[in-house]
Every structure is written in C-alpha cells, then in structure tokens.
Symmetry: C2
Subunit: 114 residues, 2 copies
C-alpha cells in the first residue's frame, strides 16, 4: 500500500542520522570539501563519505569534483520539499480542528435555543 515516494523516503532517512544532520548544518553555512567536512568527526574518512553519498542520493546536497578535491553544497530545493510535506499535513490537521470548532459552536447554539 505504501506508495513509492523514493525521494521523500531518502530525504527523511538522510536527515534521521545526527552525523548527516550535522553535515547538512555545516553545509548550510557554505560549501566545503570532503576532508574539511570530515575533520570535526571522530570517524574514518570513508565513513563520512558514505554519509555524504547518502545525502547526495537523497538530493539534499550536490557535489562536484575538481582536480582531486570534491566540493559539497546544499540543495535547499530538496529541503523545501520536505518542509512542504510536513506543512501540508499540519494544514490538513488544523483545518480539521477548525471545522470541529465550528461544529461545536453550532451545537452550542442549538443547545441554547432548545
């Protein structure tokens, strides 16, 4: 039954890991090379690279290799997509609460009249 929404899946999954969120956080302050990104982490370089690969697959970041160094940047469009999904759910829920409120008010009216 779960529809195939691979992008959203990957994005949420990518953001579920604290290391990857820290990477996104760092990149939100400007581009950086792989080894720059790896520096603050108590983790092997290949470990960090694997996280970066997942982030790139999900579309949250982009990378470009020039010479022997690979530079990473965020893609905020992807972040917006995630944000939109959440917002849509919130909106739906809030509209529902509004309707419920209106219904209860109407019931009160009736109550008063009877």
């Amino acid at each position: 039954m779960p529809e195939p929404t691979p992008n959203l899946d990957l994005m949420f999954q990518a953001l579920a890991d604290p290391t990857r969120r820290a990477l996104v956080e760092r990149l939100s302050r400007g581009p950086a090379s792989v080894s720059e990104l790896a520096l603050p982490f108590a983790m092997s370089l290949p470990g960090v690279v694997q996280h970066l690969q997942l982030l790139e697959q999900s579309g949250l970041i982009k990378t470009q290799k020039i010479g022997r160094t690979r530079t990473c940047t965020i893609d905020t469009g992807a972040l917006s997509l995630v944000e939109k999904w959440i917002n849509d759910r919130r909106i739906g829920w809030e509209r529902r609460l509004d309707r419920l409120g209106a219904f209860l008010d109407a019931e009160d009216e009736k109550g008063v009249k009877t």
Copy 2:
C-alpha cells in the same frame, strides 16, 4: 561528535518510512483506532502496531486506550519542530547567498570604478 538530539532523530526516522508517513497522513485527517489504521495495509496488525509505537515514541502521535480500543491522534507540535529545523537551515543558507550576492555586487562596483 553527533550531539544527542534524540527527538529529532526519532522524528525524522519515523517519517522515513512510507507506511508510517501514510499513517501520519491518515491521522492528519482525524483520529482513528489501531484496527481502523491497520485496515488499508497489507500487513499484520502487530506490524502496524510496531509502526505506531515508533510514531508515539518520536512524539509525532499520541494514543489513548479506552476500554479495549486504542485511539491515535497526531501531535502537530512535533511536526512543527521538524519543520523548524529544516527552516532554520534554509534560512541560514539563503542569508549566506544574500551576503555572497552583496559581495559580488560590491566587487562589480569596484570593477566599474577602476
């Protein structure tokens, strides 16, 4: 190095699964019992319950048992928290781009003058 931000971890992880997103989507249209929620899925009831437990742990939904039926509702406050995290990154990034734009404009000015 990854700071302990268990809530955000759990929330993103919870939303990474299409089944769980479908559950949240359903609940965003109003409360439901466990078996109501399980109905559309080609999955055993305990399977669905496990997903619901994860959603509850993450804070995205709340549940309440009355008699023998358990009713689930969304907690939009939690959704907002996730949304805020994303928004903060986006803002940071966009501010950076603005500064970069301003810098480049300034450089252009210089270029014109010289």
